[in-house]
Structure formats: structure tokens, C-alpha cells
Amino acid sequence: MENDIQQVVLSYFNMQGIKCKESEENIWIAQIPEKDQSFYNCGETLRFTFNREKAEIYRDIELISEGSFLFRKIIEKLGSTPKVSRVFFGQQPLIPEDSGIKPIAEKMHYKTTVAFNFKVTIDCDQKNDKLYSVVEDNKDSSLKIDNKLFTLDLENYTETPDPRIKLDEPGPEILKKYLQACQMLESSIQDDVEKYRKIAKEKCREDMKVFDDYLNEQKAELLQKKENVSFHLYFFQKEEEIDKLINNLEEERKRKINELEEKYKVKVNISLINAVIVCVPESGVSKPSGSSAKIVKLKEN
């Protein structure tokens, strides 16, 4: 974990154009531009470490670790930066040598599919974050959901297209895919959300019952007192006092019920972490001579 965090943070600084170096073993120094100094809560330099023992000794050094605030802030900042990449499958469609079929140059194009990565947060009296990906299948363009994020091994992909291959800009279809992905995601989490709802509803009901009984009994006790007080010399005054107490109880009932409802309300947030557009070259080909010319699609192998 420490290595992962170190890798993320150093890459982050690099991405932000912030220079940093290891000044001594496990202690790093970053030069922070003035505009960012309040974010890092530091001056021109930020001294930090990923090593807990170092931080224990040098208390003015910022510890960046799982659970540290700076790391959380970095995660939040990065998470709030929309990032989308487009990658291109590096090889052209494979055509069997002895098949006699030939690609039609003008029909060469990139077929585009998309992968969305989502974070779903279910927030109630407890909070639960889950990661999902919805990936478009290259073969039939259907969407498939997975409960882990989509990652790509860049070895077979480049980030620049082959200029000879036609490439379309993303159109409205991509938005439709997104909406479909959301719909799919909602269906997929439905059971989870219902489970949370059920538990929360039950807890809320229990708490409300205890509270209601408590207020009702208190109210009954006050009403009983009111009955008894009618023989009192100043009963009008006493009655008023008791009525006021009953009103206060009712006010408290409203307030506490709101508080409980708010506490046990299940809130679901779906956030799109990033998206990757994957482009795979595709070509129309001519059939071997002798047969009628017919376009045959070849997929990547």
C-alpha cells in the first residue's frame, strides 16, 4: 500500500508540474507554487514522507499515508478531475495469408467502443463505496457490467491513431451508451440499495418506536398531572404550564423524527470516475476472385 500511495502521489505531483525530490532517505521535498500553498497548507516547500516512523520522529513533516488528510485531499482533487483517454489497438486486422481476401483500403476505419468506470456510494447511517465498470463489447456492442474498474494493458495499444485509418469523432451514441450504462448500473445495485433501505427502515422504525413510546408516556404522565391539578388553588396557571410542556414535547417529537429520518435516509450517488474510448481497426475486404464481391467484416484476433 505504501508503495502504491508513493507512486500515486509522485505521479500526481508530476502531473501538476510540481517538482519534488527525495532530500534524504524517505523524506521528500516539493516546491509548491504560491497559488497551491493553501491547498497543501504549507509555504514554498512541502516536506513529506510516506514512512510512518520518519513522521513520528520529525513532526513537522507531512505524513502521506492511507488515512492521512493530505492523501485524501489529493485523492479528492484527482477524483474531481475528469479524465478521458482514447487508445488505439496497434495492429491492423489480421487476414489469413492463404485466404486470398484483401482489405479494401477505403473501408478501413476504427471501430470505437467505450468503457465507463463508476463509483457508487450508498450513504445511510453507514457508508459504502463500490467500484464498477461498464464496458462495451467490441463484438456486438453490448454493455457488460463488472464490479471492478476497467484497466488496459497499454502494451498492445497506442495513444495516437494510424493516419491511414478513418476515425470518427464521438457522436450522440456515446451519450446514449452512458445513459444505458447508468441504467444497467442502477439495476445492478438495486438489490444492494433495497437491502440498505430495509435495514435502515427497520432501524429507524425501532428508534422511532422507542422515542414515540417515551414521548407518549411522558405526555400521559403530564395529562395525568393536569387532571390532578384541577383541585389546586392556582390550577389555571398550572394547567398552562403543563400545556406548555406538552407543546414542547410535540416540538421535540417533530425535531427528533426529522433527525432520525435524515439519519436513516438512504442516499445513493453515482459518479463517473473516467472513461476510456478503445478504437480497434476494422476493414471491409474483398472475397477471393471468382466469388461475387461481398464485404466481409474481420474482427481483431
Binding site: 502504491d4 500526481y12 510512518r52 513522521a55 513520528e56 513532526r59 513537522d60 505524513l63 499515508s65 492511507e66 488515512g67 492521512s68 488528510f69 485524501r72 485523492i75 484527482l78 477524483g79 478531475t81 475528469p82 479524465k83 478521458v84 483517454s85 476505419h109 471501430k111 468506470n117 456510494t121 447511517d125 463505496d129 463500490k130 467500484l131 456492442s141 495499444y157 470518427d168 457522436g171 450522440p172 451514441e173 451519450l175 446514449k176 451508451k177 452512458y178 445513459l179 447508468c182 442502477e186 422507542v210 422515542f211 413510546d213 417515551y214 414521548l215 404522565e221 425535531r255 438512504v266 442516499k267 450517488n269 453515482i270 463517473l272 470516475i273 472513461a275 476510456v276 474510448i277 476494422e282
Partner: protein, 712 residues
């Protein structure tokens, strides 16, 4: 969707719709082609005027005649709208090509529109199954929200604003790291300092978060680290993103200590009420209960919805009729932690009142509680104690020191009662007389140049520390010329006497002590002048000395503590405050002088003797006979056993004095208001009796807790 459809141009897929009519708030058009059925609406320029939004991608809500909502994404630049449920609407209403559709603005602020079929057949939804199907859609279920940033990601796609995959992967990695935690693990522990993971503390944090749903009475016996438990829970909630807005209510005397502990141990910067301009705008606030409930602040606090409220010394809420109880009960909070070692002081009803704030009704009503659990002979003892304890276990956590199996080392106190040298004693007498006389000529409007009360008290404390500290202060006063007219002569005389003090008797005794202690020692003094003197003498004798004071930077302080830990034998410090530093590797502490505020003495002791110290420790007090410090020492040592109390116990004992003034303020009054030495001694004696009584009450309460919570 197959690849060929991707290659089609928009014109091929769907021609521009034909406008039928339009007004300021509505637009009618004839449906052409299959695009609408497939979820696309390509608009002409007239129609675009109906969607006057700034963003390039905007989320739009349509409500149809069946009151079903449809969410669409509008791409402003290219003038199209995408909606998955247009097709469902088409089917439901048996729409045909050439039908006329109207879109009407309902509310521009919420981007809501009405979708109407003008000449088609509208079918009323009455199929229950279909309703369920619709119900779980983001369009219908308001509990599901979509992050606003989602549109930014989509915007980057449609604008071809692509980033290198390494950056996209980095964002992803962050989310994986932030989400991939095991919920059984306490994240908080990973970034806390000086928090030893004692089992009882971890159990408390787990139990509060996982079982008690964030509302609990933390009632460990004193010295087991309730503050740490609360800090762990607080930090865990913050890290899990379950809590954002937090208020801590604590006695004024503990605000700084809480702030320091939260800062140094948990990395949390809480602002106190003096540091915030508005309560609404601050997420992490610490305040005294009195400040928060004051007329000025009360309504502000009550307006805010807090996620977590922590109330320290919660036994102050024992009485339901008090403003304290009513105020805390009126604060809106999701989670609530109440901390006290003594949930019951005089009466079981006090416990009922505390629980009523946490979970009203948990112990039923007062009357029923009395009937079920109160004996008539003693208000502090319950009947059905087993049942009561069972009920309390759902809301209260209490550990006893005996249960934790933590070794609490002994504390040995050695007090040296020292006869001052003649010249020192004469100076002390002269100064005390001067203060007593001048106290009655404090600065007024007419005589603003009088020495103020604080300065006089400071002079007295300086003398109690050392003649060297006094010399430095007098030199500064005289050099300032402020006191020239009225006090020049007296101050000059005192300075002369102070300069003529040849040796400090306390200094000589200190050297003897150090000679015999072969281990690491911390020497505390309140004043820099004394610190310089001690350091000079120690170094002259060849000791290795680290110097720690408030003027040092954080880095210098760190370095100093490291030197003391690794190389130096002695640390001379002017700061008693927590600082969160672990100095438990040291077992000897010398109080060269004594603060009049006993809390500061407790803090000094707390630096080496608290949870985590495995060896016995030695506290050495140097006290000059017949000085105010000696009376204070006698008061604290003999009457309330200050040097043997568990850390945290002092506050509880002083709380039983029922005084609005702090003990230091009372001592200052005694010193300054007594006309002579005898009167002062008498007053100190009376104060001693009060302290004794407070200790007695404390012992009785402790005994009662034991019987209630652990008795058979």
C-alpha cells in the same frame, strides 16, 4: 448498436425535425424518421432557444402526460438531445411518424420540461409491474443522484479532449486506493501519532461505529484515554466520509488540551470559538459549553445540522432542568458521543438524563425508570442492576483499569523543602511586601501608570522560580521607562538585591540531585531566565543538555526531542503543554518551580506518566520554605494528592469545588488580597479544606460508580 450506425451521419440517421409552431415557452414539431424512437432528438435553431443553458452538456428532465420523468442529456453545440426512455414513451403512447409533439418549459431553474403528444393516444399507466420497473430509475428515485462531474467526463469525450492514459489511470488508482479498505480495519490508526492501540480503545471505536450507530456514552474510568477513543471515532468517521461537520463541547480549561491532542495525534485542526467568524462556515469547531450556549451563539449552533457532536465532561448535563441539558439536547446531530468517567454523581436520575439526550426513551420514562431501577434507601444504588447494565450496554461503554490489564506504573514523589539563602530570603520578603503594598495602587483612569495586577503576580511567580529570572524581568521593566516616576526607586532597589544574590539554593540542590540520578531527566521551569540559569550551570558541570521552549520552531523542537532521546541526558523545558510528544522514555521529572495552576502541573507529569509508560516514575519537587509556592505545593500535595492522581482526575476533583473561578484565580486572590502573611496562611488553610472536601466527594462518586456498574 453496430458499427455501421456509428458511421452514418446525423442527416442520414434523422433529418432535422420540422417545426410546427413555437412560442416563448413551447415548441411543437412533427416526428420524422426513427431517431426519436431510438432516443435522439435533433433540434433546429428555433428549438434550441428553448434550452438557454450555459453548459455545453446539460442534464434535462422531461415529464410526460403520465407524470413519468425522462432524463436526457442535451449537447448544446451540436444541437441534439439523447434520452433512453423516449423509446418507451413512443411505445406507450403508440406514437407514429408524423405525429405532433410539444415540448413546454416547466421550470428553467430545474431544467424541467413537459413532453406532450398532441394528436396521439395517451395511455394511462395502471400496470403495477410496469410502475415498479419505472420506479427504480434515476429519473424517478430521487434518492439516487448523479455526480455533477459525470457531465464533465462526457464533455471531454464529445469534445475529444483526451488525456494520456497514464493520467486517466492515475485518477482511477486514487479511487481504488480510497475505496479498497476493509471496513473492519480502523483507517484512523494508520495516520495517528502517539496513539497506542490499546485493545479497550480499539474495541470502543469499533463498537461505537459498528454496533452503537454512532451514539454512545463513553464512560471509561479516568486515565484510560477517553479522549483518544473519541478522537479515533471522530477521525474514522471523517476518513470514511461519514462525517463532515463536527462540534466538540468541552470545559473551557480543556479546550487547548483537546486542540493540541487532536492536532498532534490525529492531524485534525479544530478551531475554537475565538478563531471562527461564523459557526455556519466552520466544519471542525471546539468550544466551551458556556460559550456555545451563550445568548450570542446559541441560535447559530442550533441552526446547524452537525454530523457529530462530542461532549466532554458530560456529567455537566446530569440535570434535565438546566440550560446545559436543554441546550445540548436541542443540537441537531447525527452522531453523538458523550464522555464522562462519572455518569452518576449523586442520583441515578442523572444517568437517565444523560441517556435521554443520546437515545430518548431507551430507559423508558422517568417514572418507569424510577419504578424499575431506583431503591428508596439510596438514590445512587439501583435495583435490577443486571437488567439495567444490560440496557446500558446498548448505549454506554465503560472499561475499568482493572479490566484492561494495562500496567499502571507507580509514581514516586520526592519533595525537597529548601531554606533559601539569606540574600534570597530577604529579596523574597522585600518583593512580597512591595507587591502587597502596590496591589492597592493598581492603575486607574487617574493613575494609568500603576503596575497592573498581572505584572505584580508575574513578579511574584518569577521570584518563586529564581532570582535570575526576576533580575531579567526587572531590568526590562526599568529599561522600558514606563514605571519611571512612581516605581523607579522600589524597582531599582529590588533589582539591586536580585543582582546581589550570589547563589540559588534551589540551583545547588538541583545539582546535588542530578549528580545522583544517572538516567535521563526532564527539568521543568516556567521562565526563560531560570532556564538559562539552569542550562548554564548544568553545562558548566559537563552535563549534556537539550533546551526546549516556546520560541523554538516546530523543526527545532523535533530536533531537540530527538537529541534528548538519543544523545542528551537532560532536557530543560519551559513548556508543560501536551505537544503530543512521547517522552515516556524518561522516568525522572524535576519541578524546579511550580505553576499555581495545578492543571499545568498535571500536564507536566502527563508527559512521562500516562498510558504507555511501563516503568515507575519519579517526580521531584523543589520548594523554598515559607514561600507562596510552598503553600501551593502543600495544598495540592497534602490535600488532594495531586502528584499521585491519575491524569484526568484533577479536573474531576476541581469540578466538585463548585466554583466559577479557577484554582489559580483563587490563589492569586489570596496572594494579592491578604494584608499579611498570617492572613494569607489562614486563607490557604480554608482553601485546603475546600479541596479536601472536593476530593472526598470525588471518592464517594467513584465508589458509587463501582457499585452501580460493577457491583453484584
Amino acid at each position: 448498436m453496430n458499427s455501421s450506425s456509428l458511421l452514418k451521419t446525423r442527416a442520414e440517421k434523422a433529418p432535422l425535425i420540422k417545426c410546427e409552431s413555437h412560442s416563448e415557452g413551447s415548441f411543437s414539431f412533427l416526428i420524422k424518421g426513427k431517431a426519436f424512437q431510438q432516443g435522439y432528438l435533433f433540434m433546429n435553431p428555433q428549438m434550441k432557444a428553448l434550452f438557454p443553458y450555459k453548459g455545453e452538456l446539460v442534464s434535462i428532465t422531461f415529464i410526460d402526460d403520465n407524470e413519468v420523468t425522462h432524463t436526457a442529456i442535451y449537447q448544446k453545440m451540436r444541437g441534439y438531445m439523447v434520452c433512453l426512455t423516449f423509446g418507451e414513451w413512443w411505445e406507450r403512447n403508440h406514437v407514429k411518424e408524423g405525429d405532433s409533439v410539444t415540448i413546454e418549459v416547466v421550470d428553467l431553474a430545474t431544467k424541467t420540461y413537459r413532453l406532450k403528444l398532441n394528436n396521439g393516444k395517451t395511455e394511462v399507466v395502471d400496470d403495477a409491474e410496469e410502475e415498479v420497473e419505472f420506479k427504480f430509475s434515476s429519473n424517478i428515485d430521487s434518492a439516487i443522484t448523479y455526480d455533477e462531474r459525470n457531465l464533465s467526463v462526457l464533455r471531454s469525450i464529445v469534445n475529444c479532449d483526451f488525456s494520456p492514459y497514464s493520467e486517466t489511470r492515475l485518477v482511477q488508482k486514487c479511487h481504488e486506493l480510497g475505496t479498497g479498505t476493509n471496513s473492519n480495519e480502523l483507517l484512523a490508526l494508520k495516520s495517528c501519532f502517539g496513539v497506542s492501540a490499546y485493545e479497550h480503545q480499539l474495541n470502543t471505536a469499533h463498537a461505537v461505529i459498528e454496533k452503537l450507530n454512532g451514539r454512545a456514552l463513553l464512560a471509561d474510568e479516568v486515565g484510560l484515554g477517553k479522549t483518544i477513543e473519541a478522537g479515533l471515532i471522530l477521525k474514522e468517521y471523517l476518513l470514511r466520509g461519514m462525517v463532515k461537520r463536527v462540534l466538540i463541547l468541552t470545559p473551557a480549561s480543556l479546550i487547548t488540551q483537546w486542540q493540541e491532542e487532536l492536532k498532534t495525534k490525529f492531524g485534525l485542526n479544530f478551531k475554537n470559538h475565538q478563531e471562527i467568524t461564523d459557526w455556519e462556515g466552520s466544519d471542525l469547531v471546539i468550544a466551551s459549553l458556556d460559550t456555545a450556549k451563550s445568548q450570542k451563539n446559541q441560535s447559530n449552533v442550533q441552526k446547524i445540522k452537525y454530523d457529530l457532536l462530542i461532549v466532554d465532561e458530560a456529567h455537566k448535563l446530569k440535570n434535565k432542568k438546566t440550560k446545559n441539558w436543554q441546550f445540548v439536547n436541542s443540537i441537531n446531530t447525527k452522531y453523538l458521543l458523550m464522555l464522562t468517567a462519572t455518569p452518576i454523581q449523586n442520583d441515578m436520575i442523572e444517568l437517565f438524563n444523560l441517556i435521554s439526550i443520546l437515545k430518548p426513551g431507551h430507559l423508558s420514562t422517568v417514572q418507569k425508570f424510577k419504578d424499575d431501577f431506583l431503591t428508596e434507601r439510596d438514590k445512587r444504588l439501583p435495583k435490577n442492576s443486571v437488567k439495567l447494565r444490560e440496557m446500558l450496554s446498548e448505549i454506554m461503554i465503560r472499561h475499568r483499569r482493572a479490566d484492561t490489564l494495562i500496567k499502571f506504573p507507580q509514581r514516586f514523589v520526592h519533595t525537597y523543602s529548601i531554606d533559601l539563602n539569606d540574600d534570597e530570603a530577604a529579596l523574597y520578603r522585600e518583593l512580597t511586601d512591595f507587591i502587597r503594598k502596590k496591589y492597592f495602587t493598581l492603575p486607574t483612569h487617574k493613575n494609568p501608570r500603576g503596575i497592573n495586577r498581572l505584572t505584580l503576580i508575574l513578579l511574584q511567580k518569577l521570584m518563586g522560580s529564581s532570582a535570575y529570572a526576576l533580575t531579567k524581568a526587572l531590568e526590562k521593566m526599568i529599561a522600558s521607562n514606563f514605571y519611571k516616576d512612581d516605581f523607579d526607586e522600589s524597582l531599582q532597589k529590588l533589582l539591586e538585591m536580585a543582582r546581589n544574590v550570589k547563589h540559588s539554593k534551589k540551583g545547588q540542590v538541583l545539582m546535588e540531585i542530578i549528580k545522583n540520578v544517572k538516567e535521563k531527566v526532564i527539568i521543568f521551569t516556567q521562565f526563560r531566565g531560570t532556564q538559562d540559569y539552569i542550562v548554564k550551570n548544568l553545562e558548566k558541570e559537563g552535563y549534556s543538555v537539550a533546551v526546549f521552549n516556546g520560541q523554538m520552531s516546530q523543526a527545532e523542537k523535533d530536533k531537540c526531542i530527538e537529541e534528548f532521546r538519543n544523545n542528551k541526558q537532560i532536557l530543560v523545558s519551559t513548556e508543560s503543554g501536551g505537544e503530543g510528544r512521547n517522552l515516556q522514555f524518561c522516568k525522572f521529572l524535576v519541578n524546579f518551580d511550580l505553576p499555581w495552576n495545578p492543571m499545568r502541573i498535571e500536564q507536566r507529569i502527563g508527559r512521562i506518566h500516562r498510558l504507555g509508560q511501563n516503568d515507575d516514575v519519579h517526580i521531584i519537587n523543589l520548594s523554598a520554605k515559607d514561600t507562596i509556592e510552598s503553600y501551593v505545593l502543600e495544598l495540592l500535595d497534602k490535600k488532594i494528592n495531586l502528584f499521585r492522581l491519575i491524569i484526568g482526575e484533577l479536573e474531576m476533583i476541581l469540578g466538585n469545588m463548585q466554583s466559577k473561578r479557577t484554582l489559580e484565580q483563587i490563589i492569586i486572590d489570596i496572594v494579592t488580597m491578604s494584608p499579611n502573611q498570617d492572613a494569607m496562611k489562614r486563607k490557604f488553610m480554608t482553601l485546603g479544606n475546600k479541596l479536601e472536601k472536593a476530593l472526598q466527594t470525588h471518592n464517594e462518586i467513584t465508589k458509587a460508580q463501582e457499585e452501580i456498574f460493577n457491583g453484584e
